[in-house]
């Protein structure tokens, strides 16, 4: 129950062995967001007014002009600080610094390992110990550190950002603690030399930076409190994250769009470009200043010939690379999910490992490091190269294999690692690919901050290199027939393979742009594009993207994409997928109806209709608001009031001398407050902002989960019997301290009677937060359009109306079912076979009839379990307004 308002707005995070899991659905967030925004808007406008009052105050002073000038300057500065571009530049600068410092630390970590390894060359066992212990310690530290400080920092971050950009608030996902945990955890896990990447986490880190910067900047200007602006800034931050990680501004923007958005605003694209370019610029300038480079160039600069990059007849080989990468990408996603789900399923191991959280990462690291130990098996897979070094070797401009005999080539620098006295370069490449493949899939499932992009990229480059070397061995003098000999460039294949495999795993085409920016050459544009598109086509038809897979594993709220080419989606209508049995309340219902609805309900929002006959949709009300209404009606406060009133009446009856007691004035005051509140009805301010529905705390205990709907309305609140009946768990009599004067001397019997009376009163909705314009669809809206609208507006449910009459409701769940049905089962129409017959019988009444019978059933059930009561018809005909 702890925490401020922002905590309450967040999704709950449940920690599991590998990935965490989110345990709540989308639900109420949009509404609460809106309410919060409204509040803050009000607060701000009050602030504005007070500021202008300050100004007036100043004018009365002596050196008034001077002061006014100061205030104006201050105001001007504040308004400037509110400008987007200042924020974006700061964000870019910050991220570039973070990226550079992290790269620096990682490089030092990796050098330290190498130095230790080289220093102990005399003793293989000591060497092995050094080789293995170092990463194990780092990874274990990383896992432990993040788990203690902020378990949200685990994993990539792109799936979560995708969810956040859809409008869902994830609990503690953008806090300073998470930032620290992510940065330090990522540095350690990358410094260990495991096959992990920094791209995904960088998206998260950039978003954290943006969120924190926003908070910091809000000290100067009010604009940073705006929620929709923050979402836009987060979208830009994602671009910055990828951009400054690879020094690839364009690719970064596109990649972040592809992996985080379904619909994208061109104005955000702008922001992304601006910030990512600035960030990439600073990132590379830092390298120049540090004398690492002479000038700004690409991160993995290649030097392929420009005049004849590839022959037209090589295109089939590129296409084959693309298709194979597609299958490989799908396999990678499958493997990654398999590891996670396998570990979850094994209950026994799971229980053991959850106790010893750090054992699992340590064991995995040990196994992987043992296999890559250079004097051991690592000699067959260039185990001593770091990811960066192997990438450089893959992209180099030389051909390793001549005529199939690798030995005769004079290897230089790191390329030497690929030469083995006994085995062929093809074999080392193949072993490298196979081993790294499962290692990366396993390593990225570790509970440390890590991304999968870079390992996949390296594997793709290795695969491309393998194909390229094979081609070079097959056609030693190139394919081109007329005149000049253009030998085949295996490095070009490596570029193509890297783009294709990473594209297949992430389901993006912008990896093509990223490789151009990484290598600084665009000459292979057509092969890369062709391979990436083919790889995507294959991978998308087999598996979801890695990020969608993680979203599913983590149970984040999501909406699947509409596949393309399946034209059933145009034929399915909302009427085929909607739930006709809508749960609603009428404007003139009494509290008893509310009670019954709440007794059976698990929906987050209920439709408010004018009356059961007209079924005209007026708005939607949250479940929690109704609980609040009911608890106010049946609460201790009202009961005491009732007792007081009775007592006062009695007093009045006994002695006609009117002597207003302190209780009475208290009471009147509270009534006045109440009245004041109800005048604000038209602007929909929640009467008591603190009375929000509490969500479960971060690490929920099972006992807490038992009582999900306990409402801390006020210290004086004491739920009545019916209310307790409703929230059937907590029977403890908390907060039973008395008002002082009036005693709660009613017996349980009396309370029940009083409650019965109260329940028959008509509901007064005036103090209730109502969403006055819930989204409405028409029966014949197509699935395609519905999906578009849901993903555009980040909806969670929409009502289906027909000339104002409510006839159904579609929620994310139905939509998801319909899409998954229509997308996976080929050619199967979700529209039921009898839909056309059903159409003719469709009318508003059928659904309300259903509803009525449903209600009746519920009522009956309730009557049998509850106190014996008089049956009151639920739809009374008088109107409240």
């Amino acid at each position: 129950m702890a925490g401020d308002g922002s905590d309450q707005r967040a999704l709950q995070y449940e920690q599991t062995l590998m990935y965490g899991r989110y345990t709540q659905e989308l639900g109420v967030y949009a509404k609460e967001e809106a309410a919060r925004l409204r509040e803050s808007g009000q607060k701000r406008s009050i602030g504005d007014r007070s500021r202008s009052l300050d100004l007036l105050e100043y004018e009365k002073g002596r050196c008034a002009k001077c002061r006014i000038c100061t205030v104006r300057c201050q105001k001007f500065l504040i308004s400037r600080v509110g400008e987007d571009w200042i924020f974006l530049i700061l964000l870019g600068l910050l991220m570039a610094l973070v990226s550079w410092v992290m790269d620096f630390c990682i490089a030092i970590c990796l050098q330290a390992q190498k130095w230790m390894y080289a220093g102990l060359e005399s003793n293989v066992f000591l060497q092995y110990l050094a080789w293995v212990t170092y990463p194990v310690v780092l990874i274990t530290f990383s896992a432990g550190f993040t788990q203690i400080l902020a378990p949200q920092a685990v994993g990539s971050g792109i799936p979560e950002m995708k969810t956040i950009l859809r409008g869902v608030v994830l609990k503690e996902y953008l806090t300073f603690k998470t930032f620290v945990a992510k940065v330090i955890g990522l540095t350690c896990s990358l410094g260990s030399g495991m096959p992990l990447g920094k791209e995904g986490p960088f998206v998260h880190i950039a978003s954290l930076c943006a969120a924190l910067l926003s908070k910091f900047m809000s000290l100067f200007g009010g604009i940073y409190e705006n929620e929709s602006r923050n979402i836009e800034m987060l979208a830009a931050a994602c671009a910055v994250g990828v951009g400054c990680c690879f020094a690839a501004p364009i690719g970064g923007v596109l990649f972040s769009i592809e992996v985080t958005s379904t619909f994208f605003a061109v104005r955000n694209y702008w922001r992304g470009f601006f910030a990512a370019t600035f960030s990439a610029f600073i990132f590379r300038v830092l390298a120049v200043w540090n004398r690492d480079e002479e000038t700004i160039t690409a991160l993995f600069k290649t030097n392929f010939r420009l005049d004849f990059p590839f022959d037209l007849q090589e295109l089939p080989a590129f296409a084959v690379t693309g298709i194979a990468s597609g299958f490989g990408g799908a396999l990678f996603v499958y493997l990654n999910r398999f590891f996670v789900l396998f570990m979850r399923k094994q209950k026994a191991i799971n229980r053991f490992l959850i106790k010893k959280r750090l054992l699992f990462p340590a064991v995995v690291t040990l196994v992987i490091c043992t296999l890559t130990f250079p004097p051991g098996f690592g000699q067959f897979m260039a185990g001593k190269l770091t990811q960066k070094e192997s990438l450089v070797t893959f992209f180099d401009n030389l051909t390793w294999a001549k005529q199939g005999i690798a030995a005769e080539f004079d290897y230089m620098g790191h390329s030497q690692a690929w030469r083995h006295p006994q085995v062929n370069v093809f074999v080392t490449l193949l072993i490298f690919i196979i081993m790294k493949f499962w290692m990366s899939a396993l390593a990225t499932a570790l509970p440390v901050p890590c991304g999968a992009f870079m390992p996949v990229f390296v594997i793709g480059a290795a695969f491309g290199r393998l194909v390229g070397e094979s081609m070079a061995a097959w056609f030693p003098d190139g394919i081109h027939s007329d005149g000049t000999i253009y030998p085949i460039v295996p490095g070009g294949y490596a570029v193509v393979g890297a783009a294709a495999l990473s594209g297949a795993v992430t389901h993006t085409v912008s990896t093509a742009v990223i490789v151009f920016e990484l290598t600084g050459q665009i000459s292979h544009i057509l092969p890369v594009m062709i391979a990436v598109i083919l790889a995507n086509a294959v991978a998308q038809s087999l598996q979801p993207s890695l990020y969608d897979s993680i979203i599913k594993i983590k149970k984040l709220p999501y909406l699947p994409e509409l596949g393309w080419g399946h034209h059933e989606k145009y034929n399915i209508r909302v009427e085929d997928i909607m739930v006709r049995d809508v749960r609603y309340i009428t404007l003139n219902c009494c509290y008893r109806d509310l009670h019954n609805i709440l007794l059976t309900g698990h929906l987050k929002t209920l439709a408010l209709v004018e009356s059961a006959e007209s079924m005209i949709l007026l708005g939607s009300i949250e479940h929690s608001q109704l609980q609040l209404l009911l608890s106010q009606q049946l609460g201790r406060f009202r009961r005491l009031q009732y007792i007081r009133e009775q007592a006062a009446e009695e007093k009045k009856r006994l002695s006609q001398v009117s002597n207003p007691s302190s209780e009475d004035s208290n009471q009147r005051a509270s009534q006045e407050v109440r009245f004041q509140i109800s005048t604000e009805e038209s602007s929909f301010i929640p009467p008591r902002p603190v009375l929000q529905k509490p969500l479960k705390p971060a690490l929920k205990r099972s006992s807490v989960a038992e009582r999900p709907a306990e409402i801390p309305t006020s210290p004086h609140d004491n739920s009545g019997i019916a209310l307790k009946n409703l929230f059937c768990a907590s029977q403890d009599t908390e907060g039973l301290e008395d008002d002082g004067d009036v005693e709660d001397d009613m017996t349980i019997r009396e309370i029940a009677e009083w409650e019965e009376k109260q329940l028959d009163e008509q509901v007064n909705f005036s103090n209730c937060k109502i969403d006055p314009a819930p989204f409405q669809l028409v029966e014949r809206t197509s699935l395609h359009k519905t999906h578009t609208i849901f993903s555009l507006l980040g909806l969670d449910h929409a009502y289906v109306t027909s000339i104002g009459r409510l006839i159904g409701v579609v929620s994310l769940k139905e939509l998801r079912k319909a899409i998954e049905g229509s997308v996976t089962v080929k050619g199967v129409k979700v529209r039921p076979p009898l839909a056309s017959f059903r159409d003719s019988g469709t009318s508003g009444t059928s659904s309300s009839e259903n509803e009525a019978t449903e209600l009746h059933k519920l009522w009956d059930r309730h009557r049998s379990v509850s106190l014996p009561r008089e049956h009151v018809p639920s739809e009374s005909d008088e109107k409240s307004q």
Copy 2:
């Protein structure tokens, strides 16, 4: 009133001297679209059923299996044809062919001119004639041809595509005639050697191809009839257009997104990538097959050094180039608009030129060609080079100026054109820039199919080259200090300048990607990005983009972008900009109210509320639908029916022998038909699909414009007096042929009386097309969010409701005003100063009171001008449903 349904759905095109102008607002299209879609959906489902019947039929035959197999194969093929990727491949192939063939023809045209020019070297006058006549003839032909065949083909096409992708249907914009006109017109105008581009028109041509291909493919499969799918395909087509024009698939996709969309779906981005890559591939493969190239490379391949592309200290020069380009871009847009508006304003010239349409392009061409005549002034601006050739010279890897003395450099090939014996290379470049600048701005305003991207790109490259040459002259040994000498590469500056200026004119950053793809080198990525972003920042703060400027000139329906950095947009609420005085009709109104509303209305849609007291919004009805209702009520058909009924009663009264006459059976039949129609009410099929509101024909005459609301409801329709009163123009008694049997023997007095009676009846909305879920907003929705929703959903108006009560309406107009107010006037809040006071008084009643008084006024006014009538209270209390 000619034309089929699709014609009626389109915006009207008014031909003017330079650009055409669209004369109608967004209005009714969405609704009619929806109705049309519904119809076609119904048709299709019927078709499906009949197809399965066919299958059953076959089974009875002898070689049933064989036939079933055939049918299945056919079905399979049809379903495959419906797949997106087949369509996209076909589109890509087609566009690549079109692009290549056009390039080929243009090259031949240009060669022919050169050949003529070279052949007549002996005589300067003849040479001049040849140099001038050839382009004049081509441009005049192009202008004439397009104006005769399809005036919609004039201009770029990107502004129109932007509008179409927003959901507006432009009349005859995507027809085969337009395709032919655009392709031939563009070939001629580009073949003339004028400073015109092919990019914009290619977007249009690709869209035309997609639309025509869709139509063609719909012969095989039904999916091609779906409207929203077609919009998606058009978005992909725009990408293909740019992509195959420059062989730049990535840049093409991004550019098309930036210039045509406000929000884009990532799934369309996919389609664009696929089709554009395929198209660019085929386009370049054609060049290889034609032996123009040895292999696939970039269109304007550069060969800058890779190891040290630029020094860090050159960045300020790049930034200056960017900022200057920003100013230049804004100036170009201003100049282009100035030319168009200037020509429009000069009434006298305008009238003369409209008569002699072809004179204007001819004169402009003559002037421009005279100035570029190589032996004349053209010698100072490399007049003999085509656009392509000058671009190649700008991008080349050599430095023209050494130490400021241009002469000592050994010019090769086309670069020679820049050397002039008397003047410096700087002067020739400067003259080239200045002359081409206004020439391009003028030429792109010509009424021929043409784009402005390429000319701007060339000017930008020239400007960059000028900066680069200056830098090279200033720092002959480069700037880099330690060790190696890296001379400055002026070609790199040309690349930066080209991207920056074209980015500034079009307000895009993707021009950066386009230059990388065009030059095949990405080494200058950071300078290009920085320059493009700076240029955009400058240009966007000064002028709208070229395409938005044309949209304004052409009066296409549009919604301005929200500028960034102006945070007022978050503080303005819908309640500040909405129109509180909503025009509405009630469910229980009588025809007289309808009549009154229609008499004063010019709105396209009216809100339908439950009653004037409750103001609960039920839906919206089109103006035309109400006219239809009224005309049906007061029409000749009903009057004749009334006469018949009276006659029948009289007959019955006279003779009790019932003898059903032929008229009676006729009448009953028609009533039955009517009944049948009204049962279909629930699925919202318009009872008579032909009864749609006719729009004006393409080339409207002034006389037609006078009678905009004439309704051809049926041949038997004869508007009554009140109706004629309403549509006050056409008094001609058209279609007065009689029914044959019953005579219309009522006098005008009687008709008036009958109409009075009819007007007092309650409106029966059952035959009326109602939009049951118009978009609703809440009072406190921010301007920012409203803009987002309007542009996301392509809305034209939205109702503002408060718990179901209608309290206001926001249309595109109000939104546009609010945005333009908040964007252009810095720091000025559109929220009126008294808004906060007004808030407290806001409730549903005040607006309905306003409405009521407004209605009352209208009523009074109407009473004074119309026939003397009894005042009937407009809100009767009985309900129709």
